[in-house]
Symmetry: C2
Subunit: 300 residues, 2 copies
């Protein structure tokens, strides 16, 4: 039996529709337009595309979008002064500094400078600590998107055996906290795990977030399990022509989809959820900063 | 075959000896005497005993011990003023407010007021976040003690299957972070876990921290596993006479010790490690605040 393929693009569209709906209610009922500021330092072409796409998505949901483009040689002091002014700006509810930044700047210090309440990327130590202690936090976007997709697919996650492969600060560790909060039994596996195949075979939910192309074969998957593939890896695709490449996940999709109950493809699975959750976090931040109820269905 | 009983009191004594050794070196080489301030609000008799014992243990290691006893009706503002002055006091490296505090005070707000660098109980959101993101943190004392005991017993923990029963902010969750940092494959189980017996049976290391007397029977333990029992529960002991009680852990010691390779008793196992690790954290804080190397063998 073949797995149901989870359509991340379609699910991201439902998140964005919810965001747009909340935004219009915030504007109608409270005269609040959530605002997202994105800061780009330097001229990395890929970053410029990301920033532009975030701006478009933000405006499409009816939110205010502000872009600050700073020259590559911007000093830490000047960048911090901008962050401070955004922290203090009541029309801005989310602040995101596009990474990577030039080498003379510290990503850790930049994140620490952002007001945790406006840290819509959920990258700060304070938000990691709030998440780790079960308090109201900004959860980082990719794991938040995976959580929403899992809830949408499976309903109540309580008691399910979740195995997360990878212990990064960006995905693996916050994913563990989010699934624990939803009362999964959570196992964090990684490169030092003795018998990864056997560990993964126990899982009702597998989240693969290691960045190694197709490392999880189908015969590691328990029949009927839900497989969330966070990996995005580019590999050679000689079948498409000389020098051509294609994107694959951390899971071997072709074999895994024969066993799993549900599986995300790469591309088109988890990828589209990240920007959608950035927008969701911005609405959440706007509600919290203004003392309003949490936007239903958009938070952990 | 019967398990080796891990003597927490003896191991705590080795930690204290290391602390005393570091303290005398800090004083001789750098003229720094680590200082621990303990604040007690109100007159809870049990808390008074704890505070007194901490003071004695602190002085026995050659550190400076300061006790502040405030009346039960102390306002939050007055307590914060004291914490602020201790934060600013260069002779104080660790600050601990003894809990519980009277109802008009917020434990969460009190912990947040303490400089994270002096939060030797490791209770603050910032320290939880630093721990969760793999940075230099103050780890809370009980899980830190369990980690030290596990390292002492097993050596390198890398690749071991660790199952933690309980997901409290005080023990379960920081324990998971510490064991993950030491490259265990970490599973966090709890009341919603589907098959707790089967989950525990996989573990090379079991940490029980739920607060339910003798809930883990011996037949849940994998032969040879290391069992760390954090629970301290008082149960009726009619065999000792009418109305008498005794202390037991979360593990059924008599049956588990027949299967385990190593096991901590209750009392006399994990209990004595907590104050020892409070002292260790105070030395660590003194080193970090003064820009000196981490004290070897006393940190996560």
């Amino acid at each position: 039996m073949s797995a149901q393929i989870l359509d991340g693009k379609a699910f991201a569209a439902t998140i964005r529709a919810k965001v747009a709906d909340h935004v219009s209610r915030l504007m109608a009922d409270h005269d609040i337009q959530p605002g997202l500021a994105v800061v780009l330092v330097g001229e990395d072409p890929a970053s410029e595309v990301y920033v532009r796409n975030k701006g478009i998505a933000t405006r499409e949901c009816g939110m205010k979008s502000v872009e600050h483009k700073l020259p590559a040689e911007t000093s830490a002091e000047d960048l911090y002064a901008l962050i401070d002014s955004l922290n203090a700006d009541p029309s801005i509810h989310g602040i995101l500094v596009q990474f990577p930044v030039p080498d003379h700047l510290s990503e850790r210090d930049i994140v620490a400078r952002i007001d945790p309440a406006k840290d819509v990327d959920g990258l700060s130590v304070v938000n990691a600590g709030l998440l780790a202690s079960g308090q109201q936090a900004m959860a980082s976007c990719t794991p938040l998107g995976c959580l929403m997709l899992l809830r949408d697919t499976l309903g109540d996650l309580s008691g399910k055996d979740a195995v997360i492969i990878g212990r990064s600060n960006l995905v693996g560790k916050p994913m563990a906290q989010l699934l624990l909060r939803d009362s999964c039994t959570v196992t964090i596996a990684h490169s030092r795990t003795k018998d990864l195949a056997e560990t993964v075979r126990r899982a009702d939910i597998v989240v693969a977030a290691v960045g190694r192309p197709q490392m999880v074969p189908g015969d590691w998957i328990k029949p009927g399990a839900t497989v969330i593939d966070v990996g995005i890896n580019r590999i050679p695709a000689p079948e498409k022509g000389e020098g051509k490449t294609r994107l694959v996940g951390d899971v071997d999709f072709d074999s895994a989809k024969e066993v799993a109950g549900h599986i995300t493809p790469v591309p088109g699975g988890v990828g589209p959820l990240t920007i959608a959750c950035l927008l969701a976090n911005t609405v959440t931040a706007a509600c919290r900063i203004n003392g309003l109820d949490e936007p239903e269905g958009l938070t952990a």
